[in-house]
Amino acid sequence: MDLLKEILEHLQHGDDEKVTALTKKALEEKIQPKDILDKGLIAGMNIIGEKYKAHEIFLPDVLLAAKAMYAGMDLLKPLFIQEGIPTIGKVIIGSVHGDLHDIGKNLVGIMLKGAGFEVINLGNNVTPEKFIETAQQENAAVIGMSALLTTTMPVMKRVVDLLKEKGLSGRIKIIIGGAPVSEEFAQEIGADAYGYDSVNAVETVTRLMSKSR
């Protein structure tokens, strides 16, 4: 079995130690880091995403695979920086001001990284200004916001409005999610998209990115 296929297989089993060892070996054998990422790590995570969507595997399986993906990525990232290879896009994520829930948003971040995006996780209780300042500074294409309380959902609209005021609508896309959030609410506040779970969020961000290219 070739090395990239082995990485892909072991990643799916959530074997981070094997993925680390195989990624090192692949680098020693002069396989291009971009190929290791695309054909090994991301390809493995794509299969995991599909299997999860089809209810063939459980959330812990996805998260163990993500840990293995991160283990491989840790070895590749310095090389990408060194060679100036850009990621497929930068996404800023956070739970909105007043909201301390982290888990759902973290899962979205993990899956986005697994799909090859660069993710800047601002944590929770993030103000509208912080979302936009960071997106501008980092030249991010997408802001992802999460809210788990109906009382914090209006903060999402403030981010959308602030983005408009600054003339950044269209250039920076907004995706929202969280238990009380819906497609209708996304439309109502003028967000670009709604993600109903982590896998769907990755698909949606990918779609948003391709639109803005």
Partner: protein
Amino acid sequence: MREIIEISNGDITAEKDKVLMNQGISLKDELPEKVITLLGKAMDIFITFSHPVGIISDISISEFDTVYKGEGLNEKDTPVDEIFREADNLALFAVTIGEKVSKKIDELFKKNEFALGSMLDSTASAGADKAADIVENRFLNLLLKDGEATPSTGILRYSPGYCGWHISGQKKLFEFIHPEEIGITLLDSFLMKPLKSVSGVIVAGKKEIHNFEDSYPFCSQCKTHSCRERIRALFIEDSPNNRQGRT
């Protein structure tokens, strides 16, 4: 009556099915060994780091009417609004499992231990519910001791943020019961800190008063409809919700 209830860690170990349900897994599913291992580890960490404590205070129907009205943001018609008026006894409560578990969850995510962090989060949510069960049972036992409950008494709890009771209802609830005494604070967004805390009203009365249809306009937004199971359990002869003198 107002009481702070120290709860033993061992008593809030949640049932495996409830933890797995929070992970989107049913016990009917064939569980891979690695999921079972994660669950075991999460439960061990949970027992080590949780510090469950609760507070309970009885409240009259007229007092609760004020608490319930809160900031005036409730839905127009709600089941809680009808149920509490028919109650024999009411008590406000708040419980928490403490801050340490939440910190441990953060720590695990930072160390890329996503699966264990997520499993611990699910364990903690189920554990906080279990702590609320214990406080609810304590109220029932007090009523039984005082001869204020009978074998036909049905007892259920309701929380702000659910069933049309707006989450801003937390404000008046906190003003009445002061959960700050057990380390729970309320943020401007009405979120409780520590995150794994539960608050609300415990309603004791005839079982029938709890029996409502989930056909209120806001029910369509509800993703769990867990009221169905809770109500059903009240009417099952040997369910934990229908056992007198529960511990």
